[in-house]
Symmetry: C2
Subunit: 183 residues, 2 copies
């Protein structure tokens, strides 16, 4: 599926692998992330399949860049993916929940430490969605073509992130309180 994340970004404008990584980190990271190594190998595969093309831009002070552009076949593939509705729910893997599920086998203090640490991490993330993310969306919306349309959907994913983190923080607070009472 990284395939479609890459095709989606390349449908906005040409990018290098490094650029794509940077963009994913600030915009899709909370629902889709990838390491640079996987991005490079996937781009190579997409080029072999004819969904993207690349050309080298030479640079003097920096390493040369390989700039990828989406092809008509790539656009068709992306369109087909967008048009075809998912018939099942996304399945997630949450290590934290797995640890909580078996926490009765360890000691109470360890769980409390873990949950408090997680709470502070999720609070930080919640703040980001409320302060930094709206600014990023505003900027990018003005830079790209069809910015207003994309802006609506980008804001929708931001709202999801915010609501998710709020829910997690609330759940952690409740769970911590419950555990403290169990003393």
């Amino acid at each position: 599926m990284l395939k479609y994340a890459l095709l989606g970004f390349l449908n906005l404008q040409p990018y290098t692998g490094y650029d794509l990584s940077a963009h994913m980190e600030v915009s899709t990271a909370h629902f889709w992330h990838a390491k640079l190594s996987q991005i490079y190998t996937t781009l190579k595969k997409l080029e072999q399949e004819g969904l993207v093309e690349s050309e080298i831009e030479e640079q003097d002070d920096r390493p040369d860049k390989r700039i990828y552009t989406i092809t008509p076949a790539g656009r068709d593939d992306l369109q087909a993916w967008l048009a075809q509705p998912m018939t099942d729910m996304d399945q997630t893997k949450l290590k934290l929940l797995l640890k909580v599920f078996f926490a009765g086998m360890g000691d109470r203090e360890s769980v409390l430490t873990e949950l408090r640490l997680q709470k502070s991490l999720h609070e930080k993330q919640l703040t980001l969605y409320r302060t930094a993310t709206p600014q990023i969306i505003d900027e990018v919306t003005q830079e790209v073509a069809d910015g207003e349309v994309h802006g609506f959907y980008w804001e929708a994913t931001r709202r999801f992130g915010e609501a998710y983190e709020q829910m997690v923080v609330d759940w952690l607070a409740e769970t911590i309180t419950g555990l403290e009472k169990m003393a």
Copy 2:
């Protein structure tokens, strides 16, 4: 990490691969799932590492069973994992959000269809967390040793599931309304 899901269950009592799969499906599926094929290969690997042991129980009418038991080394490994706190947040991959992020490149009706379908799926799941899951937790709590302690944590993961699905349903409703107004 499937490793720890399996060790966790086997720390409650011995199980076959088939049993483990069935238990995961009703209790951890929303935060940890695995196919039978992966469960079988992982159990084999765990046995080679000395973390579990198995013995065959012959059956006449059914295929023979291979019953796995956790070893002291397995228990130690599980304990160490539980005691060591995670220092980062779980990262998720949500195809639905990825599709929404790039939805401005497709047509509005496709997105609406997709979101409405997802809403009905998540509503169904929310109902399950409110009706079926509490009953399952009650039953299992009474069957296993230290049931009351485990019950607290199992209920915590149920609450997470319920809160998550409620949040998703609300987000979908809002997003659908926003899109309909955009007409």
